[in-house]
Structures are given as structure tokens and as C-alpha cells.
């Protein structure tokens, strides 16, 4: 747009440049932090946390107030971002104050106060959320500057829990957590990714301190930071908040049941729709499937989150009448519909980043998604479905995600597989290990019939059939592309490994029909594909499909490597050789079998046809750090095979 309307970014800069004008009143704690002798860090560490001090006070009314002071030293130009501090709040929480200061290397001091802060919506994807972020930026952000922030924050009234997150993207030199409880209140501290420490008790306050906490390193395909970082979850108990807090996952389930009470009540219109969609004449499984599909495809995803609405679903009737809702709204409405046909179902809370929750995670509310577990009728037991969880008491539970409209009934999105979810029943909450699909459920089967011409041109047809996770991933791309965009993307992808490529045709089938396999047909011509070398013609039998993953072999690996899901990819390429040429040499077959996967390939020659077949199989999506050497070997083997060349010779 030409109009020089002030964009948010421009405004941000403008606000920063005019603020702040007050005299600096740098507190003693920040002066003390700035005077600490500098420690040595790796040269890619952008900033270090000199001090992270948190005091949590529980008032007898149940109000939770946090006072936090945090000081950083900027070590690199890239670390200047720590001079901006963002703090979330919404209608039910409050920032009592937020201040910031900085001390430059030259000793200049700056201060930024509440009035210098600005606010913005914390997220953008939802239609509306009342979660906002207050941001304060302090001046003087140069390498060597020490910046500090202090704030007081009033917590959410119905979550009697606090978390001390003492490990993040920057190393922490010293961190302290102090807890003050009124008489009659108790706490429980649970440690995550760190050994438990006992607090020091003094004057009614409990204090934990830690020093020299390393940062979470960035590595290709590692799990999310929350799955690796150390933290302590503190849960509070008192007779005054009985039934409003939780000691176990079971309690957490009860707590959630109270919160969501009544939301599954059907309306007459919803009941009528169930009758219309899933009449009793259908088989029980068909009825379930039909209702699941309605929730998945006909209820549009739209999130409206206000205060407690981030946790409590809207009523099933409202979601049905609006035909939109977020994950918990969709799951709740589906639960209400299923109950109309006598099928029990249970809400399941999950975190979409695998690894944040495990069987050892203490009860805490870091979930970001809700799905549903549907109790399948006995008659459906003959139907093999990768998304079925065998519960010892509840029997076969189909784990279904009505929010993801690209994953068919019976399957689960890859990010929920091998993950943990909190199953919420009338008996409370129960952490369950969600099922993982077999490699055979997530296939890419690629077949090609190709012809090589004497000048090195390769042309022919390719068919790719995708199932399970592989179909889902391709559909997520295709569903947002026009036919022209799809063609461009395929040309770009093939053009990376073939010279002078031309895509003659392309056709994707079942992009919208998620129950069917996703099938892609294309025809291409690639000039100069095979290289003439005197009487020889050099041809790479692995025509398309690169399977080597990204792994930095120059640095020791710290964390596990994560694939999306188990997978099985098979390629079968037949290349008709040009007349007058015969095979002079073929590459050796590749064969690797490791604890997490297999790779085999073979090149044969029959008549004038070169046949390349290979199978790539991942059986376990998480490779522990101690097995990274194996993974490296696995990728190396694939790389060698993918580059291998068959030598053809011109007959005299």
C-alpha cells in the first residue's frame, strides 16, 4: 500500500524512539548483578541471565502474587532483543507494575516505566482472545549492557499452581524462587527435567536457589524446548480451596469436570441433527463415523477465548448453532452428539508438542489442545484402526481429533501419536500413552516408468501414493494451494535434483477425500539427466525423492532426534535404456538395519531395463542422543545410495 499509514512495526519503533524521558533510578539489585564478574560463554551465546529472582506470595484469599526481577547481560549484537520484555495478562490476571532499567558499558543508566510500555494482542490466529502482552523496551541495548526488569503480577484465580521455569534459551547464572504461604496452606513441589532440591525455610518462606544452568541448545529436529527444559511446578493446597486444586492427575480430571460441567448438554436442534445424520438404521460404527465427520468438517475452527474460556469449552448447543468453535468446543459438541446415540466418549487434553508430557510429568496445566476418546462398540472390534487405545477398564477407545480436518476417522495426527494425553472420565483424570501407528500405515509408494534417450534425456510417468501421516502432510500443503501452485511447487522440488526439467502434466487425486489414499501422477522430461562421458552414459537410478535428513555432524548432539512418525517409503523405478547401450557397471546394493529403521536398495538390469528399488523404513520416531552416531551412519548410507551411478556403455 502506498499510503503511509502507520504500521504496527513503525509505531513500535516510534514509541521506542520517543521513550522514555524519566531519570534513571536503577535499583541496587541490578547494580549488584551488573558488578558480577563476567563469565566465559560459547561465542554463539547471545545473552546471559545474571539473575532471575521470583517471589510468589499466596494470600489467604487464594490470590497469587508474583514479584519477579530478572537481569540480563547482552553478549552479542543478536542479544539486544533482551532489552524488550513482554508479559502476558488477560481479563482475569493483572500486571500491578512493570519497570525496566539498563546500565551500559560506559556506565550510562536508563529507566523505563509502566507509562512507557505498550500493549498488543498476544496471539493472532484466533478470532478473539483477551490475552494481551505488555511490552517494555529499555534504551541502551548494546553489547555489554546489563538490562533488568521488575514486575508484580496477579495470577489467575482458579489455577492454584505456579511454575519456576529455570532453563531457557540463555544460560542462567543464578536463579531463586521464594514461596510465601499463609497459615494453613501447604504446597507440593514437583521437578521436571531436574533432580529435586529441598528448599531453605526461613521466616515462613521457602527458598530454592540454582546456579549456572546451561541454555537449551538449538539442534535440528530436537523436541520442543518445554520437553527438555528444567522447571519446578508448585501446587498449593488449603481447606479454603478444596476441590479447586489437584494433587494428582485424577484430581486434575475432577477439577476439569467441574469446569466443563454442563457443556455437553444437548439442545433440541442438536438432537434433531443427530437423528438426521445418524439414524438408527446405520451400523453403530457408521453412526459414530458420521457424527465425527460432521464435527470435523462441518464445524469450522474459530477460537474465541475470554478469560476462563481458554480452559472451558462453549456449550455444545452454541457450537452447533454457530457451526464454529475451537478444539474443546468441537470435542465437547461431538461428545454431546455421541451421547445421543448411546456412545460414551471422554475429553482428552494433550500438548501438541510431543515430549512435554510423559508418564512422570506432575499434574500441571500446560495442555494446548483437546481431542476426544470414543468408546467403540463391541461390534467394531474387527476394524483395525491405528488410533485405537486399549483401555483396561473402558475397552477400545478411538482417539479422534475433530479439529484436524485432514486426518481420517480411525487415524490420529502424527503430533498426537506416541504422546501423552489426560483422559477425563467420571473417575477423574488418567494420563494415557497415546498409540503410535505402524510404518505400514504411513506409506509413500512411488513407482516410475521412465525412458532414457541417447542424449541423456529422461522422460516418463511417476505415481506417488501416500497414506496416513504422509498423506496428511501432503494434504496440508495441497489444501492451501491452487492447481497452479501445486505444479510450481512440484517443479521446484524436482528441479532441485534434475536439470532442465519440464513437468508435462500433474494430477493430484483425493486431496479433499481424506478417506482415500492421496495419489499424485505426473509426467516429466529432464534434459541432460544422464551424463555422456566418451562411450559411457552415466545415470543416477534414484531419480527422485531425497530421504536424507538434516543433522549437524560437526557438533556433539545433546538431545534426541525426532522424526514426525514411523514411515515406510518404497520406490520402484524402471528406466528403459537407449538402444545401443548396455550396462557396464552397477552400484552395489545398500542395506542398513538399525534399531530405529532400515534402508535397502537394489539395482538390477533385465534386458534393456534398469530397475531401481528401495525401501526406507522408520520404526521409532525418537532417536535418543546416544544413538545419534547410528543415525549419522544411516543418513550417510542413504546419501551414498542416492548419489550412486550406473555406468552404461555404448555397444561398438
Amino acid at each position: 500500500m502506498l499510503k503511509k499509514g502507520i504500521s504496527a512495526i513503525f509505531l513500535l519503533v516510534a514509541i521506542v524512539l520517543v521513550s522514555p524521558g524519566a531519570r534513571a533510578g536503577v535499583p541496587d539489585w541490578l547494580h549488584a548483578a551488573a558488578q558480577q564478574p563476567a563469565k566465559h560463554y560459547a561465542d554463539d551465546v547471545n545473552a546471559v541471565v545474571l539473575l532471575d529472582d521470583q517471589e510468589t506470595t499466596i494470600r489467604d484469599t487464594g490470590e497469587i502474587v508474583t514479584l519477579r526481577r530478572i537481569a540480563y547481560r547482552i553478549l552479542r549484537p543478536e542479544g539486544k532483543t533482551v532489552a524488550g520484555f513482554g508479559l502476558g495478562f488477560d481479563a482475569e490476571t493483572k500486571i500491578n507494575y512493570l519497570r525496566g532499567w539498563s546500565i551500559t558499558v560506559k556506565g550510562q543508566e536508563y529507566e523505563a516505566k509502566d507509562k512507557d510500555a505498550f500493549e498488543r494482542s498476544a496471539t493472532t490466529y484466533e478470532v478473539y482472545s483477551d490475552v494481551k502482552e505488555r511490552i517494555l523496551i529499555v534504551p541502551g541495548a548494546d553489547v555489554g549492557t546489563v538490562v533488568g526488569f521488575e514486575y508484580e503480577h496477579k495470577g489467575r484465580p482458579y489455577i492454584f499452581q505456579d511454575q519456576w521455569s529455570f532453563q531457557r534459551e540463555y544460560p542462567i547464572e543464578h536463579t531463586r524462587y521464594e514461596l510465601r504461604l499463609p497459615p494453613g496452606w501447604e504446597y507440593r513441589a514437583d521437578w521436571i527435567h531436574h533432580s529435586a532440591n529441598e528448599p531453605v525455610e526461613r521466616n515462613g518462606a521457602y527458598t530454592w536457589e540454582l546456579s549456572d544452568i546451561p541454555r537449551i541448545e538449538t539442534e535440528y529436529h530436537r523436541q520442543t524446548e518445554d520437553a527438555l527444559a528444567g522447571s519446578m511446578v508448585v501446587t498449593f493446597f488449603s481447606e479454603k480451596i478444596k476441590n479447586q486444586t489437584y494433587k494428582s492427575w485424577k484430581d486434575f480430571g475432577f477439577w476439569y469436570n467441574q469446569l466443563a460441567a454442563g457443556t455437553r448438554e444437548p439442545t433440541a436442534a442438536l438432537q434433531q441433527k443427530v437423528v438426521e445424520l445418524a439414524p438408527a438404521s446405520m451400523s453403530p460404527l457408521e453412526r459414530i463415523k458420521t457424527l465425527a465427520r460432521f464435527a470435523q468438517r462441518d464445524i469450522r475452527y474459530a477460537e474465541i477465548q475470554i478469560g476462563i474460556g481458554g480452559y472451558r469449552p462453549h456449550s455444545a448447543g452454541d457450537t452447533f448453532s454457530h457451526r464454529y468453535g475451537d478444539c474443546k468446543d468441537k470435542a465437547t459438541m461431538l461428545g454431546a452428539m455421541l451421547s445421543q446415540i448411546g456412545v460414551k466418549s471422554y475429553s482428552v487434553l494433550v500438548r501438541t508438542d510431543r515430549g512435554v508430557y510423559t508418564e512422570n510429568t506432575p499434574p500441571s496445566s500446560q495442555f494446548n489442545h483437546m481431542i476426544i476418546a470414543i468408546q467403540l462398540p463391541e461390534a467394531s472390534s474387527s476394524q483395525p484402526m491405528p488410533g485405537v487405545y486399549e483401555h483396561p477398564k473402558l475397552g477400545r477407545l478411538l482417539i479422534f481429533d475433530p479439529t484436524n480436518d485432514l486426518v481420517p476417522f480411525g487415524q490420529m495426527p502424527f503430533y498426537e501419536q506416541d504422546n501423552y494425553g489426560l483422559l477425563i472420565t467420571e473417575q477423574g483424570g488418567e494420563m494415557i500413552h497415546l498409540p503410535i501407528s505402524k510404518p505400514e500405515s504411513n506409506r509413500v509408494t512411488r513407482t516410475a516408468k521412465l525412458t532414457l534417450l541417447p542424449d541423456g534425456t529422461l522422460k516418463g510417468d511417476v505415481e506417488e501414493v501416500r497414506t496416513g501421516t504422509e498423506a496428511y502432510k501432503a494434504r496440508s500443503r495441497y489444501s492451501h494451494q491452487t492447481e497452479s501452485d501445486r505444479k510450481k511447487a512440484l517443479e521446484q522440488s524436482l528441479g532441485g535434483s534434475m536439470t532442465a526439467l519440464h513437468l508435462d502434466s500433474m494430477d493430484a487425486q483425493n486431496v479433499d477425500n481424506i478417506e482415500g489414499d492421496l495419489v499424485l501422477h505426473y509426467q516429466f522430461t529432464a534434459e541432460h539427466y544422464a551424463k555422456n562421458a566418451g562411450p559411457l552414459l552415466l545415470v543416477r537410478p534414484r531419480v527422485t525423492g531425497e530421504k536424507m535428513g538434516a543433522l549437524d555432524s560437526t557438533k556433539p548432539r545433546r538431545y534426541a532426534y525426532q522424526f514426525d512418525s514411523p514411515a515406510l517409503e518404497t520406490d520402484s523405478f524402471e528406466i528403459s535404456l537407449p538402444e545401443g547401450y548396455k550396462v557396464d557397471e552397477l552400484p552395489d546394493p545398500a542395506k542398513t538395519s538399525l534399531s530405529f529403521g532400515e534402508y535397502n536398495s537394489k539395482i538390477t538390469n533385465a534386458g534393456n531395463v534398469l530397475k531401481y528399488t528401495r525401501e526406507y523404513k522408520i520404526t521409532s520416531p525418537l532417536i535418543p542422543a546416544e544413538r545419534i552416531g547410528e543415525l549419522n551412519r544411516f543418513f550417510r548410507e542413504i546419501n551414498m545410495d542416492e548419489k550412486s551411478i550406473a555406468v552404461l556403455k555404448r555397444a561398438n
Binding site: D43, G140, D588
Partner: protein, 665 residues
Amino acid sequence: MRRRLLVFLCFYLPSVCLAVPDQKQAQGWLPVTQQDWAIKEVPYNPGAPAIQLYLRYYKDDNDNFISVYKRIKVLRDAGKKYADIAIEIEPGQSLKQLMARTLHPDGSIVDFQGKPFEKTIIKGRGIKYLAKTFTMPDVTVGSIVEYMYTVELPRRLVDPISEWPVQSELFTVKENLRFRPYQGLVIVPTEWGTEAPRSRVAYSYLHQSDPRVPQKKAGNLMELELENVPAFDGEALMPPEADYKPVIVFYYGGRETASPELFWQEWRRLFAEYLDKFVGDYGEIRSLAADLTRNESDSEKKLRKLYVRAQQIRNLSFERARTAEELKKEGLKHNTNVREVLEHGYGTSNDIDRLFVALARGAGFDASILHVSERSQRSFSELLLWLGQVDDEAVLVNAGGKDTVLDPGTKYCPYGLLRWKNTSATAFRLSKSGAAFVKTPAPPSPTVRRTARMSLAPDGSAKGEITMEWAGEESLERRIEALDTDEAGRRKSLEDELVAWLPHGGTAKLQSSEGWQETEKPLIARFTVEVPGFAAVTGKRILSPAYFFSPFQQGAFTPLSRRYPIVLPYPFVEQDEFTLTLPEGYSVEVAPYRRKAGLSYAGYEIASSQQGNELTVKRVLHLDRMRFETGEYQQLKDFFAIVQAGDGEHAVLQSAAAAAAQKEQ
């Protein structure tokens, strides 16, 4: 962006408005036709998620409102996102008269009955930018969503520029665009101090794709109706999209808006007056210029000395932006003339360019400031009466009858060079004489030299050393980028760049780099590299790539044809020498072919030679232009097919045993 011009701030004086029917009031929903319901695909773009059936946009500066009506049909699941609406509300504006509804093919209609939410885009220091958000009920594939609203604009203030949303992200079947300017007097800067101030409204229509033009209707209403406006569909390596998208803008201004000539002439006069004051004619500047150029008779050498002195000024434009408080504490003051620039020893890019003008004039040269456009975002159009087009400054100096464009205000910019975005661009010359518009020179071809010495092992892996050398634009842009990082950051950036060129699985470690603080010399980096699986090994042969680097052009020429020209930032020259030491016991069975291709504006050659157990491949690729019209695409595609084939050549090495066996045969 080095300099932002405040175009003009306008507010109007009370005046009598013309009587115009109240067009702010919604005219009610339009009927939905059978044709609308029948649409299943967007013309010429199958698979598009949605289609905009109707758009009405009406901005009225006289009655202070914007009225919008949109009707969108959802064609696919991905198009349901158009049911989530966000209406941006700027400070002083308020949302009025919102109506929205969803229509279904069976005739059912679901009205939106809620209230929109208020989402904070940004709020602070008395400024509040909001979005009013809501979502439409009961939307499925095949639904039509439509909504209309009115945004009330602040009184006593009008936007200096108003733009019509001619092209949106969806194909639009029909659109109706209206604008009614304020009927009274708008205060504009060019009329300040004049005895009889006048304000007027002009408009520009660029990249017109339809013969229809805005029509003036009763009540000074400007209106345009368009049909079948496609969404913009760009291509890789195309010129800036802004050069093709239709733009219709209205501006308030003074007498200068009567014609583009007058507009640029008037602003040229105003800027020239301002700059004359800034540059001035100071004795100390003249004296410095004389000192610097003493004993030098060659004009260019004189200018170079002045250029070096100007670049010695600390360039604040390439440092972090500072608050007023920081400037005060650090004792940094705003320069109001070139004497202060020299005295303070610091300044912005513009201050440094202006100091150079003063020095050059002091040494007797004819020098003037240029306001230069940036071709990276849009090409300059004289018809567009918008000063934001010429946002950067440079210097035009005449030495020995030859005009030279220089930019000492860009840190690390060598004498004679401009940043590529300012090359081949229209510039606005600010001097009392000479043409108002000049074209900046085309960028020279920077050379990238890559030298690799690698040893090949019998298992096909290779390791060795690579030296890379960047000159001209290539080194300038890298140096400027490096200002935002440190040595570790520069190392990572260089290693990442090299690894991206290496065959899959290759690793690189930077051993040394030099020239980061230089202006004229090239930037040089030396690496050690390892590439497992570099060559393919068969029973009796090793098949080694003849060339080391993946060309950037890979995949760029796959489409059969193009709709838009190809534009590169600048022409380039790649000079590579790759020496491969063969593994012991291997000899060359077939050397890589020599390939050569040439066009009037491009050349390529790759050839190998062998000495002892070393195979050396030399390659040169140059593209002497940066813009290629669509008619030249096939020629360029064919050229790069040869480049790619040459770069993909292999050397066939054979073991001694195989060679002996072959000999026996």
C-alpha cells in the same frame, strides 16, 4: 530506509459542504444471482479457495467515513478462513453500522447477530490501533458470506493520500470504488505562507489493466466500476510486484498537483532551498577541501580524497536507533548544516552525502544531491505524486565533463558504486540547474571467485580447502549485513552460505576471513571442507562430479514460459577453479566435456585439464544484464540448460587394474 519524508499533514478549515445524498447509509444487501450460486471455480485458477463476488469501497472525506461491502463465496475448505473478519481501526476512527450474514444455496440465511470483539494491535503512549473482529456463523463450502460496515473517520483531519483497493488476494467478479474528497480548503505544506492558499485533489492510475477509468459524478464523487479483477499471481525472480499491480491513489495538494511536471518541480524547489541552507558555503569546508586536494590535479583523484574524508565521519545511520535520552546522554546532536557534521564528526547517511557535496563544491566541482528511488520495492513513476518514492540520497558530481553518482553516506560503499537497490533507478536531482530526473548508473558485475583444492579418497569422500572472494556489490551487502552481528555470527553466516552450495552432507569450517572493514578491497574467506559421498564408487571406477558448487539457477528455469520479466539484483561473474587430487592408483578414464555457451549478454565455459594426479576444472559464468524480458526467457532457459549440464558433468576415474584390463581388451 535512510530518510522518510513527511509528505504533508492536512487538516481542513471549516467550510460549507455540498449537499450530497447520504451515501454512508448502507444500500441494503444486493440480490444473489443464480450465476453467483453456480460458480464452482475461479476463472483460470482452478483450486482457488474462494472468490470475491462483489466489493464496494467508498471513502468520503467530506462526510468522514469509509463504507465497505464484501461478498465472498467459499469454494473450498481453505476458503472458510474468509469467514473470520478483522476490520482495522486507526486512531480517531470508529466502527459503525456493521451487518454480516451467511447465505446457503438452499436459500437459508444466517445473520450475524453478535458484537465484534476489540483486538489490540498496538496501544501505548496515547495511541491505539485496534481491529474489530468477528466470525460468521454456519459457514460451509458453497456458502456466501457477506458483510458491510462503515468506519467513521476523525473530523478535522484527512489522509493526504487515499488509495482504492483495486486488486485483492481473491479474484473479484465486480467491484465498485468511490471517493469523495473534502469540498473545503485543506491546508497543505506547499501552500503555507501563500496569500491565497488553494488545495486541490489529483489522482493517479498506474498499471491500468482495464480501459475503464474513474468517472467524476455529481457531488464531486469519483467512481470506478470494474469486473473480473484477478488476484495477483507472481513469479520467482520477477520485478517488484508493485510495478504490475493496479494502483489508484488520490492526493490532496496545492497548485503543484495540477500536473506531474509541476509537482516534481515545486518539490524540487523546496528541497533545493532546504539543502542549499544545509550545504551552505562555509569557509572551513572550502579550506578543508583545498587541503585535501592540494597537489592533486586529476579530478577523480581529488574526488576520491574528498570521498574518503566524508566516509571518515561516524555514520549513525548504520548504528542502532537511539532514543532522545540516549542521544542526550551520549552527547549526540542533530546536525543542521555541513559545518556541524564536520565539527561533530558524526552524522546520518544524508548528512555525510551533503558534507561530500559541500567538499566537492569547495574543491570546485559541480555537485548536487540526488533523491534516489529504490528499485527493490517498486520502480519510480513520475505520474505517482508521492515523495516516498525517492527516499534515499546520493550525490551527482561532474568531474571533467563526466557525471558520476556517488554515495559516501553508505558505510563501506566504494567510490563509484551504489547499493544495488539504488542502481538503474530514477533519481530526483536537487539543484537549481539541470534536468530534474536522472537515471543512476547500472550496477557493475561483481565477481565471485571460488578456488577449491580437494583430495578424493577411494571411498568417494573428498576434503580440502576452498577460498571464496567477493567483490563490489557482493562484498558491500555482506559487510552491511555483518554490522548486525559479531565474528561468530559472520563465521556462521559464511559457513552456512558455503554449505548451501556444497553437495548434500558436506560440512565447512571457516579458517579465516578478511576485508570486513575495507571499502575498496574484496572480502575473502578461507574454509576447510569435507564432503562424504562426494563421488560415486562402482566396482572399477570412481565417478566424480567435475564441478563443486550447486548453481543458484537450479530449478529457476523449469516453467515453459513466463508472464513477467526476470530481474536479478545485479549482473554477475563467477570464476571458479576446482582442483581435484585423484586417489592413488586411479587415473582419468574420461575427462569432463568442455562446454561453452554464449549469448550477447551472457557467457559460460567449463573445461578441464590434467597434470599428474591432479584434475583441474576451470569455469566462468557471466550474466551481463540484470533484466530479461519474457521474450528472452526461452533463450535464457536454453542457456542455463547448458550451464546446468556442464556443471553436472562427471570425471570418470578408473583403477589401475581396470585400466590394465581395458588395455588388454
